[in-house]
Amino acid sequence: MSSPRSKNPRSNNPMFRRLVRRLLFANRGRLFVILLALSAGAAVSAALLNLQTDAKHRLTTEFRSFGANILVLPKSSGTSSDGTMVAPAAAQLAPSLDPSLTIHSETLLYAIANANPAFSSHSLPVVVVGYSGVMPGSAPLDSLDPQQAQLNSNTEPVLCIAGQQVAARLNAKSRDRLSLHNSERHLDCALTDILRTGDAQDGQIFLSLSDVQKLANTPEKISIIQINASGNATQIEQYAAQLRQKLPDAEVRPLRQFSEAQAKIYSRISGLLTASTALILILTGLCVMAAMTNIAAERKHDVGMMKAIGGSARGILNLFLTEAALLGLAGGLIGAAAGIALSMALGKAVFGIAAAPRLIVYPISVTLTVIVAILGAYPLRRLANVRPATIFRGDA
């Protein structure tokens, strides 16, 4: 009838694809149900994984902006009795043990001064803060253009920012000029902005560190260094120990409660999201398994026949597992994309900020869905072991 064909597995690829396509579309209703289950599972697991990844990112970046996690203060038993200490060199603050640690430091000097608006004799005692860093919600003091103040003065004023409360008490507004007095020293400053923070800063006036040092006649002195170190609790503790060695006259105080709370929050969120993801994937696998059990019952005779005409268990299993993997891939690709979009909405609802799409989540979710689909095809794998004679006799 025909000449014998030689064994060449590569030439069988078109038929393999043809068979898999037929298997996939043998029952479109069931195909839709399985795809729906896999897509839903992939969507929820991708959403949770994206939230988990995003939460970690947020906790290590955005929480850091809440403030310092290490304070460097003058020792209370130290030589200075005015609550100040000599400013350390920048090199002394550098994290020498762990170069991966990123730090941001702000140096402050507090002083008391009498303040009054220009052309007014009504003065009030206020806290002036010499600030070396960036004020919350404002540009760095050093970077402001003096022309912004549009001053009506013969002398060049320094720049300052006033808290909302103190500005109200002095009846001062942006671009006004303030006079500050401390003992015999005097300083004029141009008010560049009114600060509203809702805390103690609203009652303070902020100038550059060097200006306050001049006003208070405490050159080179500072009151506190606020350091924000990015890292876990152990890294921060190690860095604090390093600072204690380098700054023996200062008290280095890690704000442990914040670091530990940060770790605990992330740990709890991460655990919850991981458990939820696992649960969702297990449920998805069970759904797929239920559908595959139905398919296995339908294909029992087909498998018996395939084995009767020379199909090997492995060859038949390859067809079924490829079918399952393709279903998982399609469900994963659709579901994971939907899930990442879902996580952005969930992030908005939970954190008030839309979760950023983390690209690593997409391949992970798709891979997990493919694995779930293959594992869910377990009933089909059992089919490969059936004996044709048993099937044809109707005993199985």
């Binding site: 064909r5 069988n12 009767a308």
Partner: protein, 269 residues
């Protein structure tokens, strides 16, 4: 129905079976728990023979054909096919044996419902070695289904489905065709078509072992074997192309019209 001949037109008669046995069964026993389906069956099959395997239901016919086809295993005994003892083959060797040596035709057709007629034939090629669509198309044309290539089994009649199954069984040029009541589910017209195909196959020297309950169909075979309760009770040889020979007492051989009885009680008085 118009079918092309399955064999070369120059071959008009079945060659007389001769030479070494193609199949040798020795004391074949099959037990299902306490039930003995085959109780020590022995016979040979010569190349080119068409054997009608007969007997009442439960006599072990399908069990015998399943074991011979490598679908089931014997409890004891030996089956040698083309010099190879298939009772000693492991699972993967049995898979190759089924793919390369055996062509199955079932009463229930056993076509894959979501594959077209053409794909059902190509499926056997796929498991055997590589697919060749043109050969599969040719095979279907030869059984008169050239215009049904893309039909799903649900859209084919019983006779057409059985012809697809025959094309599938023959596509890999098997040495032995095992047919389990191939006309059992067919009407008279389709039965005739299918039997004609088997006649063609027999003419082209295919070895056929066909389970049947139908004496008329068995008459087409060159040899008839009967099983009763798992035992061989009759083994006769005949040539359906010749007129029935009479037994010595002048009566034809019961039912079959065959001429020579190989067992000890061939003729009725």
């Amino acid at each position: 129905m118009t079918t092309q001949p399955l064999v070369s037109p120059s071959v008009s008669l079945a060659p007389a079976p001769q030479g070494q046995p193609q199949v040798l069964l020795e004391n074949l026993v099959k037990e299902y728990g306490s039930l003995r389906a085959l109780g020590g069956v022995s016979f040979n099959i010569l190349p080119g023979e068409w054997i009608a395997l007969m007997g009442p239901s439960g006599s072990g016919k399908t069990t015998l054909i399943n074991i011979l086809g490598g679908l089931d295993t014997a409890t004891s005994g030996r089956i040698v096919v083309n010099g190879q003892d298939i009772t000693r083959l492991n699972e993967s060797e049995l898979v190759r044996y089924r793919a390369e040596r055996i062509g199955f035709v079932f009463q229930q057709f056993h076509l894959v419902p979501y594959l077209t007629a053409l794909e059902n034939v190509m499926l056997a090629q796929y498991f055997h070695s590589v697919t060749d669509e043109s050969q599969a198309v040719e095979a279907l044309k030869r059984v008169g289904l050239g215009d049904r290539l893309d039909h799903l089994p649900a859209n084919l009649s019983g006779g057409e489905q059985q012809r697809v199954a025959i094309a599938r069984a023959l596509i890999n040029q098997p040495k032995l065709i095992l047919a389990d009541e191939p006309t059992g589910n067919l009407d008279e017209a389709n039965e005739e078509i299918v039997i004609n195909i088997f006649r063609e196959l027999h003419k082209s020297s295919h070895t056929i072992l066909m389970v049947t309950h139908d004496v008329d169909i068995a008459r087409n075979a060159s040899r008839r074997i009967e099983l009763t309760h798992g035992h061989l009770t009759m083994d006769t040889t005949c040539n359906f192309l010749e007129a029935p020979k009479l037994c010595p007492h002048g009566k034809p051989f019961p039912s079959s019209g065959c001429c020579t009885s190989l067992d000890s009680k061939p003729c009725e008085p």
